[in-house]
Amino acid sequence: MAVTVSLTDPYVAEFQSFAKASDATEPEWLRKLRSAAITSFEKTGFPTLKNEDWKHTNLAPVARTPFRFEPRAEPVRIPGDLIEAYTFGVLKCSQLVFVNGNFAPKLSYLRWLPEGVRVRSLQEILHFDPSALERELGKHAAFDKNPFTALNTAFLQDGAFVHVPRGRIVEEPIHLLYVSTSRDPAAVSYPRNLVVMEDESQATVIESYVGLDKGAYFTNAVTEIRLGNGALVDHYKIQRESEAAYHFSNTGVLQGRGSTMTSTSFNLGGGLVRNDTSALFSDQGGNLALNGLYLLHGAQHCDNHTFIDHATPNCTSLELFKGILDGRSRGIFYGKILVRKDAQKTNARQTDKNLLLSREAFADSTPGLEILADDVKCAHGSTVGQLDENAIFYLRSRGIDEEAARTLLTYAFAAEIINQVKVASMRIKLDQLVLSRLPGSDVIQEAL
């Protein structure tokens, strides 16, 4: 008789010992949350390619690797200058740094924050003031359909907690920097961020995920963002993991009346990457701009899923994703916009454009609308193509060599997303990062 070991077993076993160690100090609601999450994971397991939501992303390599989870490991010491490359130069910001998922206070600093604003490590809040989390944690990123979010919820123990009280405006960005080092055997971290914006508050939150070396590890991150009425958030996510790393993320957003969320993501690193973003308009007049760039080469695989739930009238969501795919890379976009029956006057647009730089690169783009209301303005579209030969010739006819012309046009394709970045020093950095990834970029950089 063949004996098969369920791939979920090691996680469940790990959870039991993890929970045992945590039980004494944790409040009842958190224990229940964790337990519900691991039960959900046990039930769903790792999805196969037959699952519509996962049909382009083969999870076998993730599921088969016994990633080590060491929540209470001695923190890895990283010299400050090593993370300099992952900050934004002269940008004045508050910065929380996490090394392999654990808060690194020595690398972190807070700038002056308006009264009542909290920017803290989640671990600290879990320990000293868990009741501050009870009403929000686990409420905005559903784990019942996403086994990775379930694992994160079961094992969460550190990350960032940002709380901006009513009417407070945080002028300087808050940078959450997750650096990972490869370990042997490969390890997993579960970054968990919770951003709570009370009514009429404003902030800029930047999430960075970077690999300090070229080795393998697994980042399974979840970020929950709740915007109160009239709140405003500029959110950025920059993913520069090691190309041998797995990066799975889920960003769950809940938007109150008249709130405005702008979120722009950059996926440059990672070997196998899956990003889920979901937003729910819980009241009228919300605005969401969701932008993303995925720039892949080699054998990188990046799968972006977005789900926008227009549950209430008069909300606007504008979505623009762009992929630049070289080598044998695979870029996937799967978008869904649900306009519910009562969500009249919805304005929704969803666009995904892909540029293939090589014959072996692959893009799959599936935008989708499900409209149940009758008075709405909705559009979606996607393209997969190559560089415009007319444009290349035009540039060459002005003395720009062919390689530089191709680089320039590729850069221009990306610039539409980069230009969405409002923080100047970050935009410059992203410009350089994107350019440095393109062939022949030295010529272009000289001219910039």
């Binding site: 444009a391 010739f393 035009y394 540039l395 002005r398 720009i400 062919e402 010529v443 001219a447």
Partner: protein, 262 residues
Amino acid sequence: MALLEIRNLHARIANKDILRGIDITVKAGEVHAIMGPNGSGKTTLAQVLAGRPGYEVLSGEVLFEGKNLLAMKPEDRAREGIFMAFQYPVEIPGVGNAYFLKAAVNAVRKHRGLPELDAMEFLSLIEDKMKLLGLDDSYMKRGLNEGFSGGEKKRNEIFQMAVLEPRLAVLDETDSGLDIDALRVVANGVNSMRNKERGMLVITHYARLLHYIVPDYVHVLAGGRIVKSGGKELAEELEKTGYAGLGIEESPHAPTPAAVGH
């Protein structure tokens, strides 16, 4: 030595023979107009000179300052001093006008062994030329031809030409789609660049442009051959009689010169 010598040039695109033996010699300081009805090969001639991929030269040769032009890549032709003003300039969102032009200027300067210009030097180079073509500062920040009107695109072509200072300018139907005011601005820009060293090939369907850019020589192109050459009076003659006066059949879809008005 002539600036440009086209000898017995035969060319085709998509297996269709278009040019069937062209001979033109342009000396430094000369402006040559090439006139012809639609389908006569005007644009093919311009594209072959600029080196657009897809155009196949079957026989003949083109010498630019004695060098084999047809063996050069498009970017090398530009660096050697050939500029083509496109009939339909492309829009490239995301590449700023200023950025693009600075890259082009420096590519040409590098080729000529000149030091590359920094941002300040570049700005002072373009300042007067922007005024000449009536382009304001906001233009430089916009994407290359992005959202430009037809007139703005043509002005931008001539502006680029003014900045790049080519030895030979090829103007492909620069007058098409321009109203009379825009035509004056563009012609004024072109005329300001006429000098003893520079040659120009002005390709047009209509004599109208040649009222503003007065050529030294006029060649009439039909069926891929030069059927008549002369001085500027040839353009006037064509204006009166139309291509039919020379026994050339117009494509039925093309507007006649008279219909456009002056």
